[in-house]
Symmetry: C2
Subunit: 505 residues, 2 copies
């Protein structure tokens, strides 16, 4: 959509602007419109697209300016250029610039407005009107907002929304890459129900959360050992420990802050650790046997962030703001030090969809070629693992990764390998496919977000692969059932004689 801007603002000086300064101001306005605002503008840009001052007046200590523009030297950029220029001029008269007050800011967006476009509701937007071929916005913005590029980002956001509305929302791309041989499945039951019946797992007290007994835990550890032996050790991934509480700053840099909110478990901290401050909460519980939720709400700050969602963002501050030596690339690391949490949609699900889960996260960094090569090596090893070791019926498919969908990153040079490959296993009991892990090549997204460079000055890319132990368990048991004799030997051998610890009357 084509934007048109208009802006009225007062430049407020330290004292009354004297008459002898007026000619200089006149000349400055003339020069701004003919020279200053044209810097960096392509020669063939239409005249009326370029920012210009259309009115100016002096009253006391204030110089009031009105500007208009299209897409080139937008009014706020023009205003800042002029401010710098005129402040210098008036400095010679010993008058200093004290303030910049924006009294009016309007944006008009011209072009087809798709049906169903929902304009953002934000404090900066004083009014918004939407016609079939134009959107009129009146903004309430301060000078600081303008320096922070609020209008530019706002227009980009509206354009994104318009595009999404035009294309009918997110229709995720899905393209088959590999399909394993079909297999006979003698077992056709829901494995979660059977795990519960056998006492392998029990519902914990929060939603989508299980307590794993010895047998289920042993199966997790069996898969972990197989991943270590077949993937992690041969490809030289080294273990690290990534934090599991994620403050906003991490998600701001990783890009998750653009849209992860509906699925987050949020974390807040006490306003103070002073026991006296919390005494009434403890007293309330002691007297009533109930925890006073509302009272606690008042006593906590934040949220400061949330629980681990994607696992790899928390790694990046380890290298954030640094320049890596060439010889430490490609770098391959992994983390398996804690839980991930997602606020999943309601209702009862089995272990294939849980709010709290356990994942081994692989992460690698390198040049674009090194990053793609690691992904290819992983695909090769996973394929062998699922076909020959776990003997699963599975497939893989390229899908649009979340951040591309959200950031319009699709297309662009050398980006054809950027994206996510989902691994899916068939669940015979429901005749459906379950995504049980993935491999992503993330391009320069994370190095850019966390400001990581390479000594050589070349592009730095990264990739990640999340191995979900609950999902592996769901896929494996759904296809192989609970008769250990039917299990592939490498799993049976490692699982061993996992026995129950608790028996109930």
């Amino acid at each position: 959509m084509q934007p048109r801007f208009s802006l009225t603002a007062d430049l407020v000086f330290s004292k009354e602007i004297p008459d002898e300064a007026l000619p200089a101001i006149e000349r400055a306005v003339e020069e701004a419109n003919t020279v200053l605002f044209r810097k960096g503008v392509p020669k063939d840009a239409p005249e009326d697209e370029i920012g210009r001052i259309t009115g100016h007046s002096v009253a006391g200590a204030a110089l009031t300016l009105t500007l208009v523009s299209g897409g080139y030297t937008r009014v706020h950029d023009a205003l800042f250029r002029f401010r710098k220029h005129v402040a210098g001029l008036l400095g010679r008269h010993r008058i200093g610039l004290r303030d910049l007050v924006v009294s009016d800011y309007r944006v008009e967006l011209r072009g087809e407005v798709p049906e169903g476009l929902r304009l953002p509701v934000l404090p900066f937007i004083q009014s918004a009107e939407c016609g079939p071929e134009r959107i009129d916005l009146v903004l309430a913005v301060s000078a600081a907002d303008l320096e922070n590029k609020i209008p530019d980002r706002l227009i980009r956001l509206i354009e994104e929304k318009a595009e999404a509305a035009a294309y009918g929302g997110k229709t995720e791309h899905w393209e088959l890459v590999y399909e394993s041989p079909k297999r006979e499945h003698s077992y056709r039951e829901d494995p979660t129900a059977e795990m519960i019946r056998r006492g392998w797992i029990k519902h914990a007290l929060s939603r989508g959360q299980w307590i794993h007994g010895p047998q289920s835990t042993r199966l997790f550890r069996t898969f972990e050992a197989i991943v270590l032996e077949e993937i992690i050790e041969p490809l030289g991934f080294t273990e690290m420990v990534f934090p599991k509480l994620v403050p906003w700053e991490v998600w701001m840099k990783s890009g998750h802050a653009k849209g992860v909110y509906p699925e987050i478990y949020y974390v807040s901290v006490p306003k103070t650790r002073d026991p006296a401050y919390w005494e009434e909460v403890a007293d309330y519980f002691k007297v009533t046997g109930e925890v006073p939720i509302e009272m606690i709400r008042e006593k906590i700050d934040g949220p400061i962030g949330g629980l681990c969602y994607a696992q790899c963002p928390s790694f990046w501050p380890f290298v954030g703001g640094t320049t890596l030596t060439n010889d430490c690339l490609p770098a391959r690391i992994f983390d398996r030090s804690g839980t991930s949490h997602r606020y999943e949609s309601g209702g009862i699900h089995g272990i294939e969809r849980v709010d709290e889960f356990h994942r081994i996260e692989l992460l690698w960094l390198g040049s674009p070629e090194q990053t793609v090569e690691t992904a290819d090596l992983l695909h090769e090893r996973y394929r062998r693992l699922f076909d020959e070791v776990l003997e699963l019926e599975w497939r893989s498919a390229r899908v649009t990764p979340w951040f591309m969908a959200q950031e319009g990153m699709l297309g662009g040079e050398g980006s054809e390998r950027i994206g996510t490959t989902d691994y899916e296993a068939v669940l015979p009991y429901s005749d459906s496919w379950l995504e049980f892990q993935n491999v992503s090549v993330n391009g320069d997204k994370y190095p850019r977000g966390f400001n990581v460079k390479v000594q050589s000055g070349q592009d730095l890319w990264s990739g990640c692969s999340g191995i979900g132990l609950e999902r592996w368990t769901a896929a494996f048991l759904a296809q192989k059932g609970f008769e250990l004799d039917d299990w592939p030997a490498p799993v049976r051998r490692r699982f061993g004689d996992a026995h129950e610890i608790f028996r109930f009357v």
Copy 2:
């Protein structure tokens, strides 16, 4: 302190109480005061300590009662006994009981009131006056509050506070159990500073949180392997996976809800997963580059609970509400599946005091004898491990466990083995002692809280031992330094050639 209660309440019936019912009510009051309220009261109880009806009057459909009591058949208990009795009587006149309205409830506590006693501030307390030898309370309580024993719990709470004030707060008991031989410490630096210098760890972006690089992680895994080999396998502990998000219900049953609030990382969930509901938050971030904390606060529910604090409470729903067979005891299990989080006091600390940490939690259940025996076996093995394998300078001491301090559980039959033993290591650089792990015998606290029984009908006890990997690391490196040649062979061998992955320009 000696309590005296007085209560005025209306029993409201379905229709006007007819005159012919009045003699029966008279008789009921007489009978209550002489027989009904004396049931269960010791013969030698002073007359004026026993609940009695001191006034009653009928107006329309309401029977208004005034009761007084000391500690026996307290006024609310007396009221409920009388209600049941009189409802039966009036039922014969085809009049039903419809409501019970408490119009006045006062408590007077007589006895020495310690200086510095802070009375609880709670919605039930309409007014409270504190003299040197008495406390006068006027309560605002409903019939449901009375059935929920609010007055009894409130008085117990005030008595606890009075006791704490009298004894000058928590002076934790500490009694040396064992002291290892003194050792020469050639290394006398702060290990955290050196770990940072060597790139083993970096500050993560939330407080008290570290990202562990390959070497630090390898040290964690080395300790874990030693614990598995020296403790877990020989004593037959079996791995389970305990949840890491802890809803209130768990802490209500474990007793943590009595006082853990100042140190909790609280968790809240979205009011809805509807993306449209969260769009303005995402839009705000996209336009400003800032996460709108206040906007998010309005859009989340809860807190629903908090992050793992003590690790073992989350296990208990696995056996909650069941009766265990005799032959599955003693049961020994452990968990190492994720992080624990404590909101520690501010300022900069090294890895010896962190907000996010990693712990192997051992947990065992059995008869009192079995539970104590497991604790003794653990002490024996830990002693060998720290003296002969890790070659640390350390000591152990019996301390008052938190729940005893909070629940006045000290003393009582067979309880001399209930309690916590802290393990402390000397930090040569600061010449101080660091608690690096503990062993607790918790008595029947958890089985009682989670309602777990044994087939035999005998007492069920439990114990737990938390092995903090950050604390082990801090203690070990503080005493042994960073020269691998100075390390004990079993650690050096397992640590191997842990090398750095990332090098910086």
